[in-house]
Every structure is written in structure tokens, then in C-alpha cells.
């Protein structure tokens, strides 16, 4: 299991692995939005939570179609499905690897981008907390979408259409945590909702993802 995690991280880091793709996209969004919206600090502070979460969502989406499709193309997925590891565990480990190379870097860089968007100081702890608790859900839900579309060539469009509606609760509660934090209000309730979404999807979706992969391998 550890070896699968290490392999996925190594593959992401090596040439053509796609590490940094989501990060660069996230950076571009946060840099370009102030240029497009204008330099008014009040407007920027108002839209910062939403922009940060939308950027994270789309950045995450960019790398999702590689999650199982590459393994399916080169035959690794067939071999993993016949190996002595449960497919559910394979899904969990691959989601974890995906989070480590996309969600975690986004969480680390988000405060710097909050600065670009003039996020009020009181919002930063909540920003990090919301990203840390919310982005794992993006990887797990995304893995479910990737598992459903694994048999399709160029299934990226369908994957986006399937996954984006499922991302909406994370987006709403994630942005609400930062908005309340920035205004100096108590953001515990949306943060708990966010944690609930992550925990619930981590508990349930890998089982569904593994079932979807089994059907697609037939």
C-alpha cells in the first residue's frame, strides 16, 4: 500500500506527471482576478473567499482525468485489480496521493494568494483550516468521477459534468468559512459541515469508486 502511494507520488513528480499543473492554474486565477476586477480593495476582499475556492475546485479538476485513466491505458489497473490488494484500498491510496500532490500544495500556497486578493487578516487561520479540511473531499469525490469515466477515452468533459455538482457543497461551506472568518465572525458551523462532507465522502465514496472500476474493467 505504501509502495502504491510512493509510486503515485513519484510518477506525479517525474516529467509529464502533472505535479504543479493545478498549482500553476490556481496561481494564475488568483493573479489574474485582481487585474480583471480592478484594484478596489473592498471589492477584492469581498470576492476573495469565493475566488479562492473556485480556483481550487478547477485546479483540482484539471488533474482528475489522469487519476485512473493512465493506469487503465497501460494495463496497470487490470493488474492491480487482480493483485492481492482490495480495490477500495487502491482507490483510497490513489485519492490520498492525488491530495498530497494537489490539495496539500494548494492549502500551503492559499494564504499567499489571499494576500493578493486583499483577504482581511482575521481570515487567514480560517482559510488554511477550510482548505486543509475541504480539499481532501475534492480528491475523494473526484476519484469517484474518475472511476465512473475510466473506460472512456477523453472522458474529461463528462468527468467535469459529473463531478462539479458534487463539488458544490464543498464550495459553499468552504467559502462560507473564509467569509465569516474574514468578517471576524465565528465560522465553526460551516467548518464542521465541511469536515462532515470530507469524512462522509471518504467513508462512502471509495466503495462506490471501486464498484465503478470493477464494472468498467469488464
Amino acid at each position: 500500500m505504501i509502495s502504491l502511494l510512493m509510486r503515485d507520488i513519484t510518477l506525479a513528480m517525474r516529467a509529464g506527471g502533472g505535479f504543479g499543473l493545478g498549482l500553476a492554474f490556481f496561481l494564475l486565477v488568483a493573479v489574474l482576478v485582481p487585474l480583471g476586477v480592478g484594484p478596489d480593495p473592498i471589492t477584492l476582499a469581498k470576492i476573495a473567499p469565493g475566488i479562492l475556492w473556485v480556483g481550487a475546485l478547477l485546479a483540482c479538476l484539471l488533474s482528475l482525468d489522469r487519476l485512473f485513466a493512465l493506469d487503465a491505458e497501460d494495463g496497470s489497473l487490470d493488474l492491480l485489480a487482480t493483485a492481492p490488494v482490495p480495490l477500495e484500498a487502491v482507490v483510497v491510496i490513489k485519492s490520498l496521493a492525488h491530495w498530497l500532490v494537489t490539495g496539500l500544495p494548494l492549502t500551503v500556497i492559499a494564504p499567499a494568494l489571499g494576500l493578493l486578493l486583499n483577504l482581511p487578516t482575521s481570515g487567514y487561520p480560517w482559510l488554511v483550516a477550510a482548505f486543509g479540511l475541504g480539499t481532501p473531499a475534492l480528491s475523494v469525490i473526484g476519484a469517484f468521477g474518475a472511476a465512473l469515466t475510466v473506460g472512456l477515452k477523453r472522458g474529461g468533459l463528462l468527468l467535469s459534468l459529473l463531478v462539479l455538482p458534487l463539488y458544490v457543497p464543498t464550495l459553499i461551506f468552504g467559502a462560507e468559512v473564509i467569509r465569516r472568518g474574514a468578517l471576524g465572525l465565528d465560522a465553526t458551523t460551516p467548518l464542521l459541515f465541511l469536515a462532515g462532507i470530507t469524512l462522509g465522502s471518504t467513508a462512502l465514496l471509495p466503495i462506490a469508486s471501486a464498484a465503478a472500476i470493477r464494472v468498467n474493467l469488464r
Binding site: 493488474l79 487482480t82 490488494v85
Partner: protein
């Protein structure tokens, strides 16, 4: 090393489907330790489908497959090689997944030791196939299912492959090989799948005759 357990693969009256269509029906055979069975038949007869069914990737349409748990290693058309990992890293990964440690004997058996630290992207098609075969060695499993194992192998590599199979059989292993060419394996029995092909005509599709 010998396989500690004696494992027999028994297939009884197996029927299997591809794309919802029944392709083979009533296939029965037994592969005992030390035996090798070569499945033959023209393209599209269902050799790959049969192997995938036995490997557990798809449920059988009818009949039974009896094999001890964790005894089957499956080698598909695609070798599951990651081009950006080295030969050694590729093999070490599969060894770890199957819970075996030492990959050196497998590399030596298939003469890839010199290429161990080369990225797999720089391997030739034949070398990639040999790496795929080495993966079977590190699984430590006694029953090998192989789909066209000699594709893109030259004469020397085919000889290596035959030596590898012979040593596998000598250790009490067995193999089920799908191939449309005669492999020249001395110990092999051959099973032609043509009599088992399902001759029921495909049902007409509701879209037949519909034009855009």
C-alpha cells in the same frame, strides 16, 4: 525455490461474454501443477475474454472456475509499465504489491539486470515485454495466465521465455497461455477453442437500418 502449495486450476462448462455477447460456451479443462495449456483459435474467438474471466476481472456467464485463493497471476496484452519509472522501480513496485521482496532473480532470469536503472521509456518493445514477463516471476504465484506472451519477442528472447516457463513448471507451477502461434513448448497441451465458439447469431440491434 519451489511453490509450497500444489495448485490445480479447474474450469467446468465455462461460458463467457464480451460486450454483452456470449462468445464462448461449455469450455472445460484442468491445469495441474507442472502442466501448461495453450489456448488456440482465430482472432476474436474469445481467448482474452476467457483469460480475463478466469483472472476474475469479469464474472462468468455460466459454469465454474475452481482455483485456490491467491494462486493466479495474470499477464495481459498491456504490461502495466510506467515509462517514467526505471526498470528496477517498476518491478520493485509489483514485488511490493504481491508481498515479495527480491527482484534480482527475476531480472536475471529475463536478462534485464544491465538495464535495471534505465527508465522504462527507453526500452524497446521486446524489452518491455520481457519486463512484463519478469513481473510474473515476482508475483510468486503458481498459476500464470498469459495473453500472447511472445508478441514482439525475438528468437533469443523467446528462448529465454521458454526457459523461464520450463523452470516455472519444474518448481510445480503451471501456465495457461493464449496464443495464435505455435510456441514450440515441449510440455504443452493445446486446446483449440473453435468448437466452443458460440454460434448463436447476434440479436438485431434496434438501431439497424436507422440512418441519421
Amino acid at each position: 525455490m519451489r511453490y509450497t502449495r500444489r495448485m490445480t486450476l479447474t474450469v467446468t462448462n465455462l461460458g463467457c461474454t464480451r460486450g454483452g455477447l456470449c462468445v464462448l460456451d461449455g469450455v472445460s479443462f484442468v491445469v495441474k501443477p507442472g502442466q501448461i495449456l495453450v489456448l488456440q483459435g482465430p482472432n476474436g474467438i474469445g481467448k482474452t475474454t476467457l483469460l480475463r474471466t478466469i483472472a476474475g476481472l469479469q464474472p462468468p456467464q455460466s459454469g465454474q472456475i475452481a482455483a485456490p485463493a491467491d494462486s493466479i497471476a495474470y499477464a495481459a496484452h498491456a504490461d502495466g509499465i510506467k515509462p517514467t519509472l526505471t526498470v528496477g522501480e517498476n518491478l520493485t513496485f509489483w514485488a511490493a504489491i504481491f508481498g515479495t521482496q527480491n527482484i534480482s532473480p527475476a531480472l536475471a532470469a529475463i536478462q534485464l539486470t544491465a538495464l535495471r536503472s534505465r527508465p522504462a521509456t527507453s526500452l524497446s518493445a521486446g524489452q518491455k515485454r520481457r519486463l512484463g514477463l519478469a513481473r510474473l516471476l515476482v508475483t510468486g504465484r503458481p498459476i500464470w495466465l498469459m495473453d500472447e506472451p511472445t508478441v514482439s519477442l525475438d528468437t533469443a528472447s523467446t528462448a529465454l521465455f521458454i526457459a523461464m516457463i520450463a523452470s516455472h513448471l519444474g518448481q510445480g507451477g503451471s501456465a495457461l497461455i493464449a496464443s495464435h502461434i505455435h510456441l514450440g513448448l515441449a510440455a504443452a497441451t493445446y486446446l483449440n477453442l473453435t468448437p466452443y465458439a458460440n454460434h448463436i447469431a447476434p440479436q438485431p440491434s434496434p438501431f439497424d437500418g436507422v440512418t441519421a
